[in-house]
């Protein structure tokens, strides 16, 4: 039926107001989608890739040097000092793990909600999750001081016969974060299998054929396999949804289960999860806006995708703003002098600037996303997404440092300052993150090829476009 490709078929046109913007623009064919996405991994490495990769690897080296210095010298090289015993280490842990949450939200929750636009961004967002959790994981592992005893965190028998203490939320966190990392990797890998088969079948060299073929597990695209595959994918999405909600809830319990004013509050779990999704979408936008034009993926990651992600950022930004204001009301209503003092100190104390940046970046700046003109302007969206990342860092700064530096006993009060090691370690985690991400996009399909094919009009056998073997090549 190859003539069908050239003949125009009469398609009943729906009324203008009911027309949906197609997810893949310009009526692209199935083959075009695999060609365009694979092109990022094939051919000569572009110059901009090297221009991004070399600084990233340098920063990764800096991370290695900082961790070596910290391990061989001790946690004293960080700015953590009584009473602020949690400093940049825990701020950055929560910040990175929060960024990870958008990936799981896109891949799992939006899948269950049948938001088909997710297919264009889920692969890159899931990769972002995995790399962000890797960066996050460094901090709790390192801040214990004697990292060679980290295995005591896991229920492994030691010579003393003591077991981990499961009444502590810090132990819950170990289970939450390690499960989160493992399940995110599984979910990502299961999604990759059909695309790895595409890469295997396109590969020109023996080495590529072998490596992609090995990881594609012998996938043939048989419908008997797809049937089990789709069920497994649905179940993984169903499991990841309560997982992602629980992980940041448990991270928030690290704070909320303690007795400190500003931390001991029941609003924390939902507020942390909303903040995590907010920051994660900020990072997805920061990554994908440059990538879609560098890799010429404008027809797959369309302006509609950017628009929808801006709206999610706005919605979650409003939830966190509500939580910020509600915390003040709770403090006032509680009648507790300590709570009231903490919140007055948060807004008006010596570290007022932390609170100011948090409110400015997370509450005021996202309000610009109400305007369609802003959501359609990529430069504007990119800048705003960076503000979101900064704002969410300050939120964790306010919670961790401002929550600690003026404790119950005024004689213990002290100002907190990070050291150069804190700053360089943080910069180093960016090196790890971007090195991993750049390697990912160069060697693996950064768009879920098979899923994007599945959401085009011609993929639906009952759609008139299906007959046309449609699309431009």
């Amino acid at each position: 039926m190859s003539e069908a490709a050239t003949t125009q078929i009469a398609v009943p046109v729906p009324p203008k107001e009911l027309e949906r913007i197609p997810l893949v623009q310009n009526n692209r064919s199935f083959g075009w989608i695999s060609d365009r996405v694979s092109a990022v991994t094939e051919g000569k490495t572009p110059k901009w890739w090297w221009a991004a990769f070399i600084p990233s690897v340098t920063l990764l080296g800096l991370l290695g040097a900082m961790l070596f210095y910290q391990i061989t010298t001790g946690v004293g090289v960080w700015g953590n000092q009584h009473p602020t015993m949690w400093g940049w280490d825990i701020i950055n842990f929560v910040w990175w793990i929060g960024i990870g949450h958008a990936g799981t939200l896109i891949s799992a929750i939006l899948f269950l909600l049948r938001q088909r636009w997710r297919t264009a961004v889920n692969r890159a967002a899931e990769a972002m999750t995995i790399f962000a959790v890797m960066c996050a994981g460094i901090y709790p592992a390192m801040h214990v001081g004697r990292v060679w005893f980290d295995w005591w965190l896991f229920p492994i028998p030691t010579y003393q016969g003591v077991w981990p203490q499961f009444r502590s939320p810090l132990m819950w966190d170990v289970f939450a974060v390690s499960t989160y990392f493992t399940v995110s990797v599984l979910f990502w890998y299961v999604g990759l299998v059909p695309d790895l088969a595409t890469m295997r079948d396109r590969a020109k060299t023996r080495i590529k054929q072998f490596v992609y073929g090995l990881f594609a597990l012998g996938w043939t695209g048989s419908n008997r396999n797809w049937s089990n595959y789709e069920k497994a994918y649905l179940i993984l999405a169903g499991l990841s949804t309560p997982l992602v909600l629980s992980v940041h809830s448990i991270v928030s319990l690290d704070f909320a289960v303690s007795q400190l004013p500003g931390w001991h509050t029941t609003i924390f779990p939902p507020y942390f999860v909303a903040g995590a999704v907010f920051s994660g979408f900020g990072m997805v936008l920061t990554l994908l806006i440059p990538l879609r034009s560098m890799c010429h993926l404008e027809d797959i990651i369309t302006m509609r995708h950017i628009d929808v992600m801006c709206k999610v950022t706005l919605a979650t930004g409003c939830i966190v703003s509500y939580a910020y204001l509600m915390e003040f009301i709770i403090a006032w209503y509680s009648g507790s002098a300590m709570e009231r003092f903490h919140f007055m100190n948060r807004a008006l104390g010596p570290m007022w600037w932390g609170w100011f940046w948090m409110m400015f970046c997370n509450m005021i700046i996202p309000q610009l996303f109400w305007f369609k003109k802003v959501r359609q302007n990529l430069v504007f969206v990119f800048i705003l997404s960076i503000f979101v990342n900064i704002g969410m860092w300050f939120e964790r700064f306010v919670i961790v440092v401002v929550g600690l530096y003026r404790e119950f006993l005024p004689s213990s009060w002290d100002y907190y300052k990070p050291t150069w090691v804190d700053i360089c370690t943080y910069l180093g985690t960016f090196g790890l993150f971007f090195t991993m991400f750049l390697l990912f996009m160069r060697f693996l399909p950064m768009i879920a090829v098979s899923e994007v094919k599945g959401v085009t009009a011609q993929a639906d056998p009952h759609h008139p476009a299906a007959r046309g073997n449609g699309g431009k090549h």
Partner: protein, 179 residues
Amino acid sequence: MSTAARAYGVIAEFDNTADVLHAAEKVRDAGFRKWDVYMPFPIHGMDKAMGLKNSKVGWFSFIGGVTGYTTGMLMIWWMNAVDYPIVVGGKPMFSPYGAFPPSYELTILFGAFGALFGMLFLNRLPRLHHPLLKHKRFALATHDKFFVVIETADPKYSETETRKLLEAAGSTRIEMVEE
């Protein structure tokens, strides 16, 4: 077709989703058992067109989840209340509330492993070799073409009749695949 190699089956190529879906319905109605449809992405309604039953992956995941929750609860109870009890803040040695978060995470972890390994087991993956992967047109099954393959091992298979059926279904190209 070479005479030395045994035939694995007949492979019929289709250009679009509508044609392959209707072809699958015809093959199903003809009563074939050992056959499959190969495609770059799952086509909605193909399970019904092939007459497949609901996938059993859910059971593997369910068993994984139950195992995870039980493991978590029993592990924490045994470690903190039996093997080495330590009083912390006057709290009970074992409480299902404190033990819940890690057990919840283990439920998800084991459930996810159940889904993954259940899927691989049911699909008989990983496998290093498949007769179809040697076929030169078959690489397009992960690109933009759709294939119906009927194995010669099927009791209803007949070299002429099966080919006719696939031709009638609108295949653009029908070939034999070697073992």
